[in-house]
Amino acid sequence: MSKCRNLWISTALAATLVAGPAMAEKLGLGRPALPEEIAAWNVDVAPDGTGLPVGSGSVEDGEMLFSENCAVCHGEFAEGVDNWPKLAGGDGTLDHEDPLKTVGSYWPHLSTVFDYVHRSMPFGGAQTLSPDETYAIVAYILFSNYIVEDDFVLSNENFLDVTMPNADGFIVDDRDETELPLFTQPACMSDCKDSVEITMRAAVLDVTPDVIGEDEVQAAAEISAAAEAQETAPIAMPDPKLVAAGEKVFRQCASCHQIGDGAKHRVGPVLTGVVGRKVGQAQGFKYSPSVEKAAQDGMIWDHDTLDAYLESPRSVIPKGRMSFQGLRSADDREAVIAYLRTFN
């Protein structure tokens, strides 16, 4: 079709869609998008495979890539860590109480998995995976859901051959048919029911966050004051107030890191003795290649390195696995470093 004709048709289409005045004249604003620009941003993939880049990746390669890029949150077997999404399991649970919705049990299209991994993952390092790497990771996620075998290689060629288990599990919004007739009845205004009983109380459950108390305000002030004192008068051992403040800040770290007696590796390594030590030295922890490299380069967890790392982990160790947003407050970083020091 020629451009002229398209323009004519689109005018007609727009006129049918827009009630009222005919289509406004073009204002001549903006400029044509260049092919390179469109290619850079137009990376979405549709269910019929439109938009898939050429490439391929194996379950085998995917396992390694998943371990390096995804497992910190999603678990080595896609089983999920803490509150992070589980990507595997849940088969047959959708009509049960608390269904487990994973790629295997819920996602209707494989295109969505590729699109999302390629465009937005890993968390904090979006758009760092090549098409081949993405195919491999998607293949591994399929394998972890028992959808393909361990020798499977996913490519743009065989992509549409994969059948997602819940492909037929969706219907288009039917509220107009199923709910509107029920919920557009005239409303009752008086004597609508015989009795009213309380059947459940939120206070019994007790999961509501506490009101912001003076405690929190005071704690923040204490952190600030103690950090200031520390800066102006450096001493051998950190100020106990600063340590106490750091212990509170450390709660943000505690979902992934343990420290002190009986500490075990979790998502992240045990941090006992970390201050002043060479990077990547916690016994028995499997570090990312990036941390291994930093260790080989002789990086030391001295005060300034820790401070910079805590502010923005991936600006100190690029492609590191620590998916933590960083502590913006210098006072908080000072406090938590003081806390870590007490375990040396």
Binding site: N6, I9, L29, G30, H109, I171, D174, S190, I212
Partner: protein, 422 residues
């Protein structure tokens, strides 16, 4: 409509006990003591010295005495605070416009900082001429102003299984209502020229999540707005500075922030946000998709668990919010006896399409306990359902689109609790 009302007859039996209890808690307040009020009789420092000069705060925040009226997070809800949500303090606000600074945030990869100078908006796909606009280009299109509510589809989602969070902020705070200034998306699409095969648009943001969503072309050409101002000022960072999409009446996830690309397509992309999330699983395990419209809904914001009655029996203002994705609110009914009897509240202003309405019911509280509910009715005749009615249709596994009637159990001492009633 009723401006004022007496407690309904069914409550009469409680009046006696109510008064007895109420009398005990009638507190401090103002003006009726025998001793003169020193706030009046003594010269106060603020009446004697001087306040701040004009340049003390170039851009102001609320006074410190209002420091509790802030967005709050529920830490156990999500894995971290980057891909997470917080809640508008609706219990402490009045009127209908939500200030940007306390309007709830939902990010999927954090709130990014994107300068206007670095801003580009691309239109591509099934168009005659794929285009790139700068921020300044957008400012040269004819502009409109509209007040719209934005409600997250997950608002009240935690209440699906039962009364859970004790405060209107937490049960109903994934909502805000702002006046937007921007350009109708239709004008931008017409500038590029839509080809006949175009049936959908796919919109995405500039942040790492991109949060892509598919929108039918019909809606895109109808009332979708490309906005760059909210409540008169630039969008705040957390609301998508410099440019966001407004999709009136439809779930908040579609209101793409940091809008960077609009692709005209012949099919829905079925992105993560419209398949694995923002879909509604029914009792039989089948899930609804493309549930875009927000059903009519309301909530009493005061009294409520975070906004208890402190003044004892007597004149009481019951107030709350109502909204509908299908058009204006027609009226709001309020019950103080758990839904046995209802009276129609007063709307502060006539309802506006896809915008929040504020309602008031001014009563003479007898000090007895109340099971306080509100029920919105929109201009299409849709009546906000009970949780039981919703569960009968949808089962127990839904998360999104919970627009059920909320109950606050207001006790004789004025404190309120989130409860479910039969």
């Amino acid at each position: 409509m009723t401006d004022q009302s007496q407690p309904s007859t069914t409550r009469r039996g409680f009046i006696k006990t109510g008064l007895a209890t109420g009398g005990a808690i009638a507190v401090g307040g103002a003006a009726q003591g025998a001793t003169p009020d020193p706030l009046i009789t003594e010269i106060q420092p603020w009446a004697q010295g001087l306040g701040d000069g004009v340049d003390a705060v170039p851009y102001g925040l609320p006074i410190e005495y209002e420091s509790d009226i802030v967005r709050r997070n529920v830490p156990w809800l999500t894995a971290d605070v980057i891909s997470s949500i917080n809640f508008t303090p609706i219990h402490g606000l009045d009127g209908t416009i939500t200030p940007q600074g306390c309007a709830f945030e939902r990010h999927h990869s954090g709130a990014i900082e994107l300068r206007k100078e670095d801003y580009r908006l691309m239109i591509n796909g099934l168009v005659d001429t794929p285009l790139v606009f700068t921020y300044e280009d957008l400012e040269r299109f004819p502009r409109e102003n509209h007040v719209y509510f934005l409600e997250c589809a997950a608002n009240t989602g935690m209440e699906w299984a039962g009364a859970q969070l004790n405060g209107a902020q937490f049960t109903h705070g994934m909502i805000h209502n702002m006046e937007y200034s921007g350009v109708p998306l239709r004008l931008l699409l017409e500038e590029a020229g839509i080809q006949p095969e175009g049936k959908w648009i796919y919109v995405e943001g500039a942040d790492a999540s991109s949060n892509g969503r598919s929108i039918p072309l019909e809606k895109a050409m109808d009332d979708v707005l490309v906005a760059f101002k909210a409540n008169g000022e630039a969008l705040r960072k957390e609301h998508g500075y410099p440019v966001r999409l407004c999709v009136p009446g439809w779930e908040g996830n579609m209101w793409i922030k940091w809008l960077r690309r609009i692709e005209v397509t012949d099919q829905a992309i079925e992105s993560r946000e419209e398949t694995s999330k923002y879909t509604d699983t029914l009792a039989d395990g089948i899930s609804r998709k493309w549930t875009w419209v927000m059903d009519a809904k309301s909530v009493v914001t005061s009294p409520s668990p975070q906004s208890p009655i402190k003044h004892g029996p007597g004149p009481l203002v019951i107030t709350g919010l109502a909204w509908s994705g299908r058009g204006p609110i027609d009226h709001v009914d309020v019950s103080i006896d758990g839904g046995k009897n209802w009276q129609t509240a007063r709307l502060a202003q006539p309802g506006q399409p896809m915008a929040i309405s504020r309602f008031y019911l001014d009563i003479d509280w007898d000090g007895s306990e109340m099971l306080l509910q509100s029920r919105a009715v929109d201009a299409t005749g849709y009546v906000q359902p009970t949780k039981t009615q919703l569960r009968d249709v949808r089962g127990l596994n839904s998360i999104y689109h919970n627009n059920c009637i909320q109950t606050w159990w207001v006790k004789p001492n004025g404190e309120a609790e989130n409860v479910e009633v039969s």
